[in-house]
Amino acid sequence: EAGVAQSPRYKIIEKRQSVAFWCNPISGHATLYWYQQILGQGPKLLIQFQNNGVVDDSQLPKDRFSAERLKGVDSTLKIQPAKLEDSAVYLCASSLGRDNEQFFGPGTRLTVL
């Protein structure tokens, strides 16, 4: 079974630029999550989708971050404009929804200069 795919794996941009990340969850997983993991910390949930609807986006900085999951499969996370403090690993995870067992992708490491 293929795992959660993310791209790109690494991205370096300058502050005030825009960036987008892509996630393809495990086939059949209805729930998709985006997390931000700052160096030395655990992942922090940014947004959770159930199919193509948003379940929780309470910690998403909506003035600069946006996410969508068209057709309830792939998802994109965008940052516009980026700030220095956005430097982090952005993790995508998916789950069937049973007992909260989430499967994570390898992440995208973003560096904002």
Partner: protein, 113 residues
């Protein structure tokens, strides 16, 4: 807001030693999970505990969920260099199935051969 405190933050031991890491909170969790994360990868689920007092074993790893479901521990017997990584606990307050997880900051374990 849930807060999961993990201790110790860093642990460096010799191969063959035993160790225990802790995950504590003032909140009651319906389920708690332990993940291991290696550099450049996403977290990988090790175990989910859902019943107070529950003990689960995974080869040399023993996981325990506190009776009050507010804390958990991970014990590793005869640690090996392959156990090196970041160990994260994550809890969910809500009913099982698609409830946002809150992660601790993790314990970074280094096992020296």
């Amino acid at each position: 807001t849930q807060l999961l405190e993990q201790s110790p933050q860093f642990l460096s031991i010799q191969e063959g030693e035993n160790l225990t890491v802790y995950c504590n909170s003032s909140s009651v969790f319906s389920s708690l999970q332990w993940y291991r994360q290696e550099p450049g990868e996403g977290p990988v689920l090790l175990v989910t505990v859902v019943t107070g007092g529950e003990v689960k074993k995974l080869k040399r790893l023993t996981f325990q969920f506190g009776d009050a479901r507010k804390d958990s521990s991970l014990h590793i017997t005869a640690a090996q260099p392959g156990d090196t990584g970041l160990y994260l606990c994550a809890g969910s307050e809500g009913p099982s199935g698609n409830t946002p997880l809150v992660f601790g900051k993790g314990t970074r374990l280094s096992v020296i051969a």
